[in-house]
Symmetry: C2
Subunit: 718 residues, 2 copies
């Protein structure tokens, strides 16, 4: 088995959407779905852009898909040849993790079509594709290629007022509807043979027709280059795209591929986890890191990663807590600059969080549940559609999932704890922590006749139980955030930095209130007890997962909100108490963790790709890595197997699963190897499951790369 | 038009359920539904008992229906004659409000059946019926009559282990399943002619067959007496029932009827409102008071009235806030002893309210939303069935409708204000007020960084908006309750009563906290402003009632809970802000009331029979009684017209509407006449609508009956 690639043989129409995710190529600036060269919007072909958003009318705001400049469809003797329409005698599709490319090889009766595609890791604006056509008989061939502007959108269209240019370089320019951002795509082509070329622009794009007399047995190679720029990159994105396409054609496919591969190789040097003992797991882990690298915002200084990466417009292209809790840990250990990029996004979007808190009548920073550019809240009041009435259902994710602010403070603090680097704190991290603590201060309630302080009417990680009181994950996260805010002065003992900040934020009274609040809010846990997920959880109906599933009348029914089958039972969507234990390992004994694990795991639907990682990580901690194995395989394989839900009610939620991709690394390195870094110092605590012989992986410590090897006998670092 | 009776001609099967309510007879101890003599469980025939409850398995706990001892079905030449099965040539059914009787007159081809029925107002255990049979030809007739024990139950059966006795008196005895309470029904018969009698007991009851050769044109009269006793009345209910039936047969129908009519006449002397100008309205008002008198617990010293009276098991036979807000005002002005009986029920059930508060983690008294005997909470977590999935839906009436405690304190305080009588306060009323105030103290939350005190996560009178913050009705009611608790010491200046009570309840600290709390909790209103019903109400979708109704996919859909069509709009179920204004008239200027009335009224579905009364009353107050007229007619006619909803989701909620019955009197006397009594002193402030020429009604002041006359020119009292 090749652990560095994944190939699928044969064509099944029903795999179209999943394969678009499975075979995605990307470079953080954009993602290109794993579709065929000749496919369009009905097959969900898309060039998904990072950080460019648009809203059409009152539909959901979502990221913009750029025009597709790699489109190419062949006709043989006037007959279109396309997978899904033309019968294929053989067909394979492959994603190459190490080199970061996608290839297809399809044998139709008249012609074999091969292509290799990549989104350049060396030049963020560039997409490249090489088509190789081999004919089985002499024929008249025509390749229609160009920039398709009739593109797949979930809540579009987003691009308007197209203008086209059709000289040797094709160019399509448009503007987004809401913010009038220019978006440009160009295309150049280099054919390795003589052909006639005609160009045309239509309502659906700008194209060229390359026609030639093909000879049987001979291969014809055509290289296609496309460049995408937006107004966020440059004042004249059209000019830039045009010029880049020109240069790309001059450099040629092979030279561009070579630069691309070198960039990927460096990423792997920093991050590849060598897993011995189970090739399937090794490949799944490679796939996971491949997907992470394909969407990491290396081109930006302050940007984060959407919950479905760059695989489409699902979840509005928004950034969730996934970034801080499931992605940040990977990067802070392998590529700390990228970890900073993710967190700087939160620092830069603090104004959005302040605004959101104020809108709800609170002070401080209430970060968006689904953060778009500038910290705009992308989460709407209605996120699910009732499958029986087809009416939108009010959900409270936006209003009540207040742990998000604490999650961000947690990651900021972890960055400091792991690296010992205070720069992010100075750059605004400390301010974010203070504003998040202030938010909890104003969100908390106390009763008049007791000391009790409560966080009421919240949603924890388990979204199937909305509007609960004192979710322990939330209370713990809030208490941690407040504790961090109170520890901040000790980080800056000899400078006026902190005092100046307190003054600037008019924070003195709040600081004193927080000191009083912390002991009243922080949950107290008893050794070995089952921790109740929220007030009243243990009074809910205790029935097993299959009983609850059996109550579904439609498999697409949403399990949560007041009407969902799980809402008034103890069945939870994902790790919640266990997620808290995973994030605060020093506070819980192995015995307590194991007892709660064995209580909650059978009651968890794992309806989120964020769930298994937490269960696996904690199982390793209490010394039962074999309990973690299945969760590890499930997490690491999610985008290979095409697992995960594609629908919530009637809403498409498919795409890649970055949090699970990060989770796979977390289980392997923080779980199985037991890596722990504090202030730049590293230790490991191997808990390898029986399936794994050894793990070997790089870690970046204070700018230097070290390599850790872990076996059943111990661990070494070099 | 006879304003003292209501007659329906003709038979329509679809009216069966509604007529059962419309033609109900009752005496507070029991109600007998307006069904035909020959009908049974499938036509919802029932003898509904006050204050006797039973739970079968985990079904809803509900009041017990007694065996039906007035059952009588005729056969002519072996053919059963029964309305709905046998074609009727003529049929009328009448309820006589003044005399408190029900009659039917049905002409079938072979026989005319007439009957007159009453539940004795002079002897609470007694039901009487006189059948008059007139045959059109000579024939062989047989009357099957007896005690039917196969009775209608919604969540039954409730009676088990029947024993029967069949001598000249029939007797059926059984016990309830849950509490083993004995229930006994007896029957005696007096036929005014010779007939043969055979007796038998079957699985469905104990019967006698009276057979005779009937002559054409001759009338045959049979009087049937039935007595009902339970173990709550006597240790030997069977013996008592037997003995009463014996005595009844001896006394005879006419003498019993005469005593019954005398008792009714006295009730009318105390309460009848003479309305000149509109006979339809006069009759509807008589019907309303008729229904109230039929269910008022005159036989008890501490009992209240279920939300659907004695018309069946709907709403679990439970007592709601209706008693204090919609029924108490009628009785406190017309029959103060009965007002005390209602409030004593709350005093006696204080332990249940203390228990409920403790179960939810609070102190003080949290009264049941649906109170059964002893203050047991009858309200369940699931009160609606989803019409699409047929699954029960979690509602929060039980948990969040906390205004109930304040409503009770409000009525206790009103009793004192109106009568100047402190006896109820001494009997436990003061303790109830203190415990309710304590409940609000412990239920309130404050923020740490502001002075604001909040009542979070509540449901106000408008049940379509669940789990809202700071519902003004609720906050106002809680603040009033606290204000009353703080005023209590002034009521007992020269006695140690209050000090002793404070000591007994360990209340000193709470008393001081309440002083601090009151100004922080009491809502502040600005002159002329639209008062927001709860936090965020004015941000909800503002669409009209017909738009919301148009979104229904099934007319039985419930409008509230998170999925209901009204839940996230400004459409409300019933008066809420306006109910507050109705209950606290001195706090709002006419201008403020009118402005809010004109804002909220078009946004009110009036999906509860409690709604129109509040709108009508406030319209009178701001001098627009013509705006009140339609609400008055609707309220007063509800049980005549058979209005009101019969279904909430898939759950039957039909029955009579005591709150609307009370509301009709409230509109007429407190609204149109503007009656106001303070400390036994009476004033009026007539606001007669154009349809009414004059109103004349009795009021009981300090034990004396006075009569108030109101015209468009002024008012007099004699």
């Amino acid at each position: 088995m090749d652990i560095w690639s994944y190939t699928q043989s044969g064509y099944r129409e029903e795999d179209t959407v999943t394969n678009g995710n499975r075979f995605l190529v990307g470079n953080g600036y954009m993602g290109y779905r794993g579709t065929m060269d000749e496919w369009g919007k009905s097959e969900f072909a898309a060039v998904n852009l990072a950080g460019v958003y648009d809203q059409n009318g009152d539909k959901w705001r979502e990221p913009v898909n750029a025009p597709n400049g790699l489109f190419a469809v062949l006709s043989v003797n006037g007959e279109t040849v396309a997978l899904g329409k033309t019968t294929a005698q053989k067909h394979t599709q492959t994603v190459h993790f190490r080199r970061g490319t996608h290839s297809r090889d399809t044998l139709f009766a008249p012609v074999r079509i091969r292509s290799e595609r990549f989104v350049s890791m060396a030049e963020k604006h560039l997409l490249c594709s090489r088509l190789t056509l081999t004919f089985s008989e002499d024929c008249q061939a025509e390749l229609l290629t160009g920039i398709v502007t009739d593109i797949w959108d979930i809540n579009g269209p987003h691009l308007f007022n197209y203008t086209y240019q059709a000289d040797s370089i094709l160019l399509a320019e448009a503007r987004t509807g809401e913010l009038n951002i220019p978006v440009a795509a160009a295309q150049s082509v280099k054919a390795g043979f003589d052909c006639a070329e005609k160009r045309e622009s239509t309502e659906t794009g700008v194209y060229r027709r390359l026609s030639f007399n093909a000879e049987a047995g001979k291969s014809y190679v055509i290289d296609i280059f496309s460049a995408v720029f937006t107004g966020l990159d440059d004042k004249e994105p059209g000019k830039q795209a045009y010029s880049l396409c020109q240069k790309a054609a001059e450099s040629g496919f092979e030279s561009l591929l070579s630069a691309h591969r070198a960039a990927w190789e460096e990423l792997w040097q920093n991050s590849a986890v060598e897993l011995q003992g189970c090739d399937e797991a090794a490949r799944a882990l490679n796939a996971s890191l491949y997907h992470l690298h394909s969407i990491a915002p290396r081109h930006a200084s302050a940007l984060s990663i959407p919950a479905r990466g760059l695989s489409g417009q699902t979840y509005k292209g928004a950034v969730f807590w996934d970034s801080e809790i499931f992605l940040f840990p990977v990067f802070v250990h392998t590529e700390p600059e990228l970890a900073k990029t993710l967190l700087r996004y939160r620092i830069e979007t603090l104004p959005g969080a302040l605004k959101k808190a104020a809108e709800y009548g609170y002070r401080g920073a209430f970060y968006p549940w689904e953060s778009q550019e500038g910290g705009a809240e992308g989460c709407t009041d209605y996120n699910v559609v009732d499958v029986f009435t087809h009416r939108p259902v009010r959900t409270y994710f936006r209003d009540k999932q207040i742990h998000i602010s604490g999650d961000i403070a947690y990651a900021l603090w972890r960055y400091y704890e792991i690296t010992g680097d205070l720069s992010l704190m100075r750059e605004g991290g400390a301010e974010v922590i203070l504003q998040c603590a202030r938010f909890y201060l104003s969100r908390a309630h106390s009763r008049l006749d007791t000391d009790k302080v409560e966080l009421l009417d919240v949603i924890g990680p388990d979204e199937y139980h909305e509007r609960v009181g004192n979710n322990v994950f939330t209370n713990q996260m809030a208490a941690h955030c407040i504790a961090c805010s109170l520890e901040l002065p000790e980080l800056f003992p000899d400078s006026s930095f902190f005092d100046d900040l307190i003054k600037k934020l008019d924070y003195e009274d709040d600081f004193n209130l927080l000191k009083k609040l912390l002991p009243l809010l922080r949950p107290a846990f008893e050794e070995g007890e089952i921790i109740e997920q929220f007030d009243g959880y243990l009074e809910l109906e205790d029935c097993d997962l299959e009983t609850v599933r059996g109550r579904l009348l439609d498999e697409r029914e949403y399990w949560g909100t007041n009407h969902g089958v799980a809402a008034h039972t103890r069945i939870i969507k994902q790790a919640d108490v266990i997620a808290m234990m995973a994030l605060f390992p020093s506070q819980f004994s192995d015995k307590t963790v194991e007892r709660n694990w064995r209580f909650y795991e059978p009651r968890t639907e794992h309806g989120s790709s964020l769930s298994s990682c937490m269960y696996a990580l904690t199982a390793c901690r209490f010394g039962q890595p074999d309990l973690a194995w299945e969760h590890f395989i499930k997490t690491a394989s999610i985008d290979l197997e095409g697992g995960g839900k594609n629908w919530a009610g009637e809403i498409y939620i498919g795409g890649t699963h970055p949090a699970a991709n990060g989770g796979a690394w977390i289980i392997a390195v923080l779980g199985f190897a037991g890596l722990s870094v504090l202030n730049g110092e590293l230790t490991a605590n191997p808990r390898l499951p029986s399936q794994i012989k050894s793990l070997r992986f790089p870690v970046t410590l204070r700018g230097k790369r070290v390599c850790v090897t872990v076996t059943h006998d111990g661990w070494t670092v070099e």
